[in-house]
Symmetry: C2
Subunit: 239 residues, 2 copies
């Protein structure tokens, strides 16, 4: 008789956990450049390094990463496409949760993480439609296109800004809920302009002033979590 084993391979993505690996490798490549180590990926996914070694080998089989023992993994073109597909889903879902379902920043990440494995491409594109095809999510992160291209990112952490510089908030790191809250409460959100009053090298505190002449002193962790752009540069497609 046969119970229709694993024949859904077509329309379904690589098994859901494969996507988690690809996304982790992609994120690490973006922030640290170069190959992703088993240790870092393991940390990001809260699993053991040993499991990552195994999976890297399998991902290589599948043609999704280039992997050299003891050297870490980098995404192949196919792997990158797949990762970006997941990132697109994730960011669109986050946008929906925040804008239509009244989630706040803390709750969003976890829910999106689960949902992105369950939704189809069709769902994703209809959601994009409903949201008006946004090109950035509410954190300010760019949303990859359905074709797998992603706006180049020329932002840098506020901690690296120069005194006197006029900058625009482009995004805030969404790892730490408390920071998100802090920023959210003060309406320090993507899109706002700030003037850098002082960057104190001794303790890493950055003093900024917003357009209503409100002044904020941000400690180093906060200053590293807020990303800014110094001028409007709009285009560029890159990996």
């Amino acid at each position: 008789m046969g119970y229709e084993m694993n024949d859904l391979a077509e329309s379904r993505s690589p098994s859901s956990s494969v996507g988690d690996y690809l996304k982790a490798v992609w994120e690490l490549a973006v922030t640290s450049g170069g190959a992703a180590s088993t240790k870092d990926v393991a940390a990001r996914l809260s699993i053991s390094p040993a499991s990552v070694s195994n999976m890297f080998a399998r991902l290589q089989e599948m043609g999704l990463v280039r992997y050299e023992r003891y050297r870490g993994a980098t995404l192949t073109e196919r792997g990158r496409k797949e990762a970006l597909r997941l990132v697109r889903r994730h960011r669109l879902i986050e946008t929906f949760l925040l804008e239509h379902l009244g989630y706040d920043w803390q709750e969003v990440h976890e829910e999106a993480e689960r949902l992105e494995h369950a939704v189809s491409d069709g769902f994703t594109e209809r959601l994009a439609e409903l949201l008006g095809h946004p090109d950035h999510d509410p954190h300010g992160d760019p949303i990859p296109s359905a074709e797998g291209t992603l706006e180049a990112d020329d932002s840098f952490p506020l901690s690296q800004a120069a005194t006197g510089q006029r900058v625009r908030i482009s995004k805030v790191r969404d790892e730490d809920a408390a920071m998100l809250d802090y920023f959210g409460d003060r309406n320090l959100v993507p899109g706002r302009w700030l003037t850098v009053r002082e960057v104190r090298t001794v303790d890493g505190v950055v003093i900024v002033e917003d357009e209503e002449a409100e002044v904020y002193a941000l400690g180093e962790p906060l200053a590293r979590s807020m990303f800014v752009r110094s001028e409007t540069s709009d285009l560029g497609e890159g990996n």
Copy 2:
């Protein structure tokens, strides 16, 4: 060190496939009454009867079903609650897909089936909010309350209606896409009133007339897929 094994047991439902079994048992109980056989559940889930036997034993361990060898399984109170929780999710998600995302009837079921395992209770309730706390989905099926109660269902297939009876469409079976389309195209949807002109016993054809005096002849399969109510009876909470 420890990699945070399975400690999410709290907020997560019983493993996703457990939910599939419970829903299958529940649906079979609703339509056929009595205990669900391994064979029927196996057919519904497209797995082997042997697997169902195993799982029934485990579900019993977990206190979700009452199971007697060779006798099938029935839901315990906890099992029923859990099943209804899934059904609620499913029907709310279907409603959302149809009303906000422009899905048509065919596509909805499959997508909802996957999503219902990924969403949290929090998501479900916010979605209910967004949808205006509907008590029926677009097929006309009642949506269980968050507390696990479900409106009693006094509808019957059109094929069992009597000549001359005035009835209201309560729901249409969502198994067959072609039928859904047929009904959808003619706007024969839940809520509409019909008058039964004739029930032909010889071939099972039912002739009905809608409020615009439009007349339809529905063959037996269609007449068995359309459920109707003969009067407005509104309340009742039952399993």
